[in-house]
Amino acid sequence: MAEGSVTWSLQDADHMTAAEIYGETLVHLGEEREDIVALTADLAKSTKIGKFETRFPDRFINVGIAEQNLFGIGAGLALAGFTPFISTFAVFASLRAGEQVRTDICYQNLNCKIIATHSGVSFGQAGTTHHCTEDLSVMRSFANMTVIVPADGIETSKAVEACVDWKGPVYIRIGRGFEPWVHKDANYAFEIGKGIEMHPGSDITVIACGTSVYAAVDAAEVLEKEDGLSVRVIDMHTIKPIDRDIIMKAVEETRRIVTFEDHNIIGGLGSAVSEVIVESGKGCAFKRVGIPDEYSIVGYPEDLYNHFKLDTDGVIETVREVMGKEFEEDEDWEDEI
C-alpha cells in the first residue's frame, strides 16, 4: 500500500459499509491535503461524508436539497483550486444534476470527485425513484469523466485514494448496504483503468463490477467444484477507461464472456465490454446480465439481486446456460448464442 494511505484490517472493514469506509478514507486524506473540500445535498449522514464535516467543518458545504447547485458549487470550488469530493445518491448525481456534472465539471475538466451512493437497486425498498440503473451509461458518455465501480469497501477506499491525484473528474459508484468484501488481501495493488483477475479460468470469463463481483467469485468456486468448470472472474472496477487488454486476453483464451452489473444492461459495463469485443473483430460468445430495460421492482436488495440473476445462483445459472450453447462448433447457428 502506498505510504500515507489508510491501512485497513479486514476485520475492521468487514463490519463497515463501503460508504462508511469512504467517509473514513476521506477524513484521512483531508488530514494530509488542505485542498480537499467536501460537499453534499442534505445527505451527509446517508452518504457518510458527514465524517469529514465533523473533522473539518470549515471545509464542508451542505447545500440542502439542491443537487444542481451542489455540482455547480463544486465546479466553482475546483476553479478556485480545491479538490471537491461531492456526495449524493447516484440517481441525483447522474440525472437531477446531470447537466451540471457534464457542462460545469466535465466540459471544464475540473478536479471534482463524485462519490455516488445508493446505486443500482441497492436501496431496494425505497423503490424505483431511488434506484439508479442509468448512471454508468450517463457518466461514461461524458468526455473527460473517469468511472469507477468498486467491488467492496476495501476497493472503495483504494479508489478514493487513487482518484485524488488522478487529473480531472471521477465518478465513483457505491451501493448502500453491507456488501460482502471480495478482496481477501487488503494490500492488493489497485490501479485505475486496470481490471483485476479474481479467479483463474480457461473455459469462460465472467466480468463483473460492484456487488456482482462477489457473486461471480462465489459462483466460480461452486462451478469448479460441481461442474468441473474453469471460470475466470474479472473485477472490472474501472468502467472508463475500460481495460481493453484484460478483455481481449479473455476473448482469446476463453472465447466466452458474460458480464454482470447492478445497472441497466444498456450503457453500463456490459456495453463497454461488448464495444471492445466487437471493435476487435474477434469472435466471442457474449451475454450481458443486469437490470433488463425496464424499471426495477421494490424489495430487499438480496431478493432483487436474486430476481435479476445477479446473485451467486444467477451467475451459476447464466454460466451453465452459456456453456451449454455451442460456439463455432458446427454450421448450426440456431443453438448458438
Binding site: 444542481q68 455547480g72 466553482g76 476553479l79 478556485a80 483550486g81 447537466e99 451540471q100 457542462t103
Partner: protein, 280 residues
C-alpha cells in the same frame, strides 16, 4: 461618489469603441447575440476598466478577481472586451464562430484566456460563482467574485438554489449583477414568464439589492462600490438596461436576441452608435 469628469469620459469613450468592436465581431461571426451583448456592455466596461483586480499578461493570477458571465450567450460582447484588455490579439475576433476557432458563441474557459468559467447553459453561473466565492473564504483570500446574469435566466430554478446558498453562507465577497433588458428569445420577459418583482425576490432570498440604470456609469460605479463595501452577505445589482443599446434598429427589439449583420446593416449599426455618443 460621482465619477470625475475624466473618469466618466474615459469609460464613455471605451464603451463607444467597444460597442463598435462588438458589432464588428457579430458581423465577422456570421451571427451573434447582439442585443444582449450591447445591453451588458456598460457593466463590463465599468468592471474591466475600473474595478477588477486582474492581470491580462497572467490570466490565471491566483488572487485575481473572478467574473462569471452566467448569461454565456453574451460571449460575442465579452470577447471584444477581453481582447481590448490584452488577453489575446484583437485580430482573433475575426475567427469568432468559425469552424475550429477558439471562440464559439459561448466562451470556453479552456480556450479563451481571461474567461474564469465556461458558461452557456443558463442558470449555471451563479452556482459556480458561489463555489468561487466559497473558495476565497475557505482559503482566506480577499478576491471578489462577480456574476453577470440575464433576466430571462431568472426563470431557471437553479438560480434560486444558488441565491439561497449564497445568503446562507453570507458571501459578502460575491456580487451578482442582472442585465435586466426585459426581453428573452420569444418576447417580453414578463409575458413569457413573469419574473417581477425581481428586487423583492432577491431581497427575500437574503441579498442586499440595488436597482440602477445599467447604462449610466455614475450609477453603475456607485453600485459596485456599495456592493464591494457591503459586509454580511451577498449583494445584487439589478441593472435596468436596453436590449441592443446604441443601435437604433436593435433597441428593444426581440428580433435582435440573435441575428446576423450584412455590410449595410453593420454600417448602419456603427453610424447609430456614433450618433448616440455624439448626443444626436
Amino acid at each position: 461618489m460621482a465619477l470625475s469628469e475624466s473618469e466618466l469620459k474615459a469609460l464613455t469613450e471605451k464603451a463607444h469603441q467597444l460597442r463598435k468592436d462588438v458589432i464588428q465581431t457579430v458581423a465577422w461571426s456570421g451571427g451573434g447575440h447582439a442585443g444582449g451583448a450591447l445591453s451588458q456592455l456598460d457593466l463590463l466596461v465599468a468592471l474591466y476598466y475600473k474595478y477588477l483586480n486582474i492581470d491580462p499578461s497572467n490570466p490565471e493570477k491566483a488572487d485575481r478577481d473572478r467574473l462569471v458571465l452566467s448569461k454565456g450567450h453574451g460571449g460575442v460582447g465579452y470577447a471584444p472586451v477581453l481582447a481590448d484588455k490584452g488577453y489575446f490579439k484583437k485580430e482573433l475576433l475575426q475567427t469568432f464562430n468559425h469552424t475550429g476557432s477558439s471562440f464559439g458563441m459561448h466562451l470556453d474557459k479552456n480556450k479563451v484566456p481571461g474567461v474564469d468559467a465556461s458558461t452557456g447553459s443558463l442558470g449555471h453561473g451563479l452556482s459556480i460563482a458561489v463555489g468561487l466565492a466559497l473558495g476565497a473564504k475557505f482559503s482566506g483570500k480577499k478576491w471578489l467574485t462577480y456574476c453577470i446574469m440575464g433576466d430571462g435566466e431568472q426563470h431557471e430554478g437553479s438560480i434560486w438554489e444558488a441565491a439561497m446558498s449564497a445568503a446562507h453562507y453570507k458571501l459578502d465577497n460575491l456580487i451578482g449583477i442582472i442585465d435586466n433588458n426585459k426581453l428573452c428569445i420569444d418576447g417580453p420577459l414578463n409575458e413569457i414568464m413573469n419574473v417581477s418583482p425581481l428586487d423583492k425576490k432577491w431581497e427575500a432570498f437574503g441579498w442586499k439589492v440595488r436597482i440602477i440604470d445599467g447604462h449610466n456609469f455614475n450609477d453603475i460605479c456607485d453600485a459596485i462600490e456599495e456592493a464591494q463595501a457591503f459586509s454580511g452577505g451577498p449583494f445584487i445589482i439589478i441593472a435596468q438596461t436596453v436590449k441592443g443599446k446604441g443601435v437604433d434598429y436593435m433597441e428593444g427589439a426581440k428580433e435582435w436576441h440573435y441575428g446576423g449583420l450584412d455590410g449595410e446593416m453593420t454600417r448602419k449599426a456603427l453610424e447609430s452608435i456614433d450618433r448616440m455618443y455624439a448626443g444626436k
